[in-house]
């Protein structure tokens, strides 16, 4: 589904790998090794060279926003641009708030969270709501950068359940995680990143 050939930039050495639909691949390696750089390059948020395709369609053949909507990167630190949580959904798609409520509850937050103020969210709440924000758009590929780093065990388990559900729908997941246990639970294959070099284990 997602195929990456010789993807490289100033940090990354040429990397080639693929992720199939419904599959999860864990990205591991020490801090500062280039894991986020790899995900950002795939999402085309930073300049890179190489051939990246979704179902055979080349990345450079479609407008960048369209690519990112299908191959969505979720940053480790979420960004917010309006005061109210719900406003981050309404602008993207008018039906998004309705889709969001089910996901928000699945992640252990009340559906009323849409009316909360972003400024008063805890780090863990932000992290989960940012995931919901990405999921309501139904991307084909998820590029997740430590999506459970601020969550307790229960919330982490809920996120993993939601991710498995997405994978069952055919979504491909590339997840950066520092937890070997999480990688074991979710992924069958691993990519190891060290000093910009991406190796499949």
């Amino acid at each position: 589904m997602l195929t990456v050939e010789r993807l490289c930039n100033s940090v990354l050495k040429p990397a080639s790998f693929h992720v199939d639909g419904g599959e999860c691949v864990a990205v591991q390696g020490p801090s500062g090794a280039g894991k986020s750089v790899l995900l950002r390059a795939v999402a085309d948020l930073d300049p890179s060279d190489g051939d990246v395709r979704l179902d055979g369609a080349p990345r450079d053949g479609m407008p960048a926003p369209e690519w990112r909507r299908r191959v969505t990167y979720l940053a480790a630190e979420s960004g917010w641009w309006a005061d109210r949580v719900g406003d981050h959904f309404a602008v993207l798609d008018p039906t998004a708030p309705n889709k969001a409520v089910g996901l928000i509850e699945a992640l252990g937050l009340p559906g009323g969270a849409l009316d909360w103020l972003v400024a008063r969210l805890s780090t863990g709440e932000r992290q989960r709501l940012a995931l919901v924000r990405a999921l309501v758009q139904e991307p084909r590929v998820l590029l997740l950068d430590e999506p459970t780093s601020a969550l307790d065990l229960d919330a982490t388990a809920r996120v993993e359940t939601v991710l498995r559900h997405e994978m069952a729908r055919g979504v491909a997941v590339l997840i950066v995680t520092h937890s070997p246990a999480q990688a074991d639970r979710l992924a069958k294959r691993r990519l190891h990143v060290e000093a910009g070099e991406v190796r499949e284990l």
Partner: protein, 266 residues
């Protein structure tokens, strides 16, 4: 009413006011006495030199020298606009965008003023062109430097919010719109404020000068209104061009946010 000439003793007397300020600064340990003294000396030296240069320029009546003086003013304005930015674009862009935008806007406005409203003969007469350009450039410079400074610092500060929108498939234009609006507003606000407050709170310097030199106040007012429109026109145009050019430079064909094109803060 004839012009009352000023003697150097009159100026020295007025300079005593600064000594009062300086004394207060020393007494209260504000540390402002040095910058105050340096600024005052710079002001006296720069203005005296400008007086000499203008006198020569008016006497020589050369279009090329007038043009050269205008270019020097523009280059200084560009330098100053760049110096006021906390985060600059790398390379020549930091200088080029501000200078280019101000140059284009000032040229357009000056041509309009000199060929339609004021019409001196010849139209490039330095006595009219140079002081007008000074006022237009000075204001455009403030606006452009404020707008560019706001744009770059807001883009850095809002990076996570902007990139979150990009990652969700929104266009760069949409993601940057709040930052762009903020920059344009900040750049234009001083001009709008000065138009709104002028006459009620502050009597503009040029109008005061004309009145002091014996011109009928109602004529001086007409000149001032013209100048205000020229300033607003040039500042608006300059701010718009500079901001849009900087946004273009901060993005690329794949709609990425290119903060790597900003220099590191020193």
């Amino acid at each position: 009413m004839p012009l009352i000439p000023l003697h150097y003793t009159d100026l020295a007397l007025a300079a005593l006011l600064l000594l009062v300020n300086g004394g207060l600064s020393v007494r209260m340990a504000l540390g402002l006495e040095r910058p105050l003294a340096i600024a005052a000396v710079r002001m006296v030296v720069q203005l005296s030199l400008v007086g000499l240069v203008l006198k020569q320029l008016f006497a020589l009546e050369s279009p090329w020298l007038t043009l050269a003086a205008a270019l020097v003013m523009l280059l200084f304005a560009g330098q100053e606009a760049m110096a006021r930015q906390e985060r600059r674009l790398v390379g020549w862009w930091a200088y080029g965008i501000g200078t280019g935008a101000m140059g284009f806007a000032a040229m357009l406005v000056m041509l309009l003023a000199l060929t339609t409203a004021i019409r001196p003969s010849p139209w490039w007469d330095a006595r009219y062109a140079i002081p007008l350009l000074g006022m237009v450039l000075g204001n455009a410079m403030s606006g452009v430097s404020l707008a560019l400074n706001t744009l770059t610092s807001a883009a850095v500060r809002e990076r996570a919010a902007i990139e979150a929108q990009l990652a969700l498939g929104r266009t760069l234009w949409t993601a940057l719109r709040p930052v762009l609006r903020h920059a344009l507003r900040t750049g234009l606000m001083p001009t709008i404020n000065s138009m709104a407050a002028t006459g009620v709170v502050a009597l503009p310097g040029m109008m005061t000068g004309q009145i002091l030199s014996g011109i009928d106040p109602s004529e001086a007012v007409k000149y001032q209104i013209l100048i205000m429109f020229l300033i607003a026109g040039a500042t608006g145009l300059g701010v718009l061009i500079a901001t849009l050019a900087a946004v273009r430079r901060l993005s690329d064909a794949r709609q990425r946010l290119r903060l790597d094109r900003l220099a590191q803060r020193r």
